[in-house]
Symmetry: C2
Subunit: 128 residues, 2 copies
């Protein structure tokens, strides 16, 4: 049991980095991690086989492209104060025309690019 708790200020943590697509870990609870990330541009299509993923927009806006059960391509626009849960197994791709700051909530160890390894993969996210 910790002797004192530490609060986490989202704006302060987000000011500590400027690169895109590389999540940082803010905290952990119940086997899950809270992360922050900045999106700008178009990410890769991917899915997480065993992890549901929550996206909450802290500032800005982005579009989540996704493929439904029939493979049809759909899109959801998300603004500040809006959240989306992408269930395990669903192909998705965030797209941001301008920079957007996002809070993520997902199981510890979730890989940002899921089943698709590439230059945007962050293997060992930094803890802030």
């Amino acid at each position: 049991m910790p002797k004192s708790l530490q609060k986490i200020n989202l704006a302060e943590k987000l000011a500590l980095f400027s690169d895109h697509w590389s999540p940082r870990i803010l905290g952990e609870l119940n086997g899950q991690q809270v992360k922050v990330v900045k999106f700008q541009g178009e990410f890769v299509w991917h899915r997480h086989e065993a992890e549901d993923e929550l996206f909450l927009v802290v500032s800005g806006a982005f579009r989540m492209d996704y493929r439904d059960g029939q493979g049809g391509e759909q899109a959801m626009e998300l603004g500040e104060g809006e959240l989306l849960i992408v269930p395990r197994g669903m192909e998705h791709r965030p797209v941001a025309h301008a920079e957007v700051e996002v809070l993520l909530f997902e199981p510890a160890g979730t890989l940002n690019t899921g089943n698709v390894r590439g230059i945007l993969t962050t293997d060992d996210p930094q803890r802030l």
Copy 2:
């Protein structure tokens, strides 16, 4: 697999109720639930034996009183955009001088008053 995703707008959901201390469920992922709640006044001291609990301030401010491993009483002030993770087993009590809107993230089934049953206990939180 759902055919389409539903986004959740925090402000819209928070406008749907006005009572205090009674969490509403917004969504579920990986066995965890996302909830919103409004605090005003002083809650009861309690702990959750097996659940870590995340509090993120959406609007307003509140104070989290807690007891450290030695039983000493401490307090943490939290404002908008700040989050706190209270680990399982730690006694805590939110106190809000004015109304504050809070997002909770915790395991499905977590009881708001933890080990202390009383008039503030919400046994079956409503889904919004």
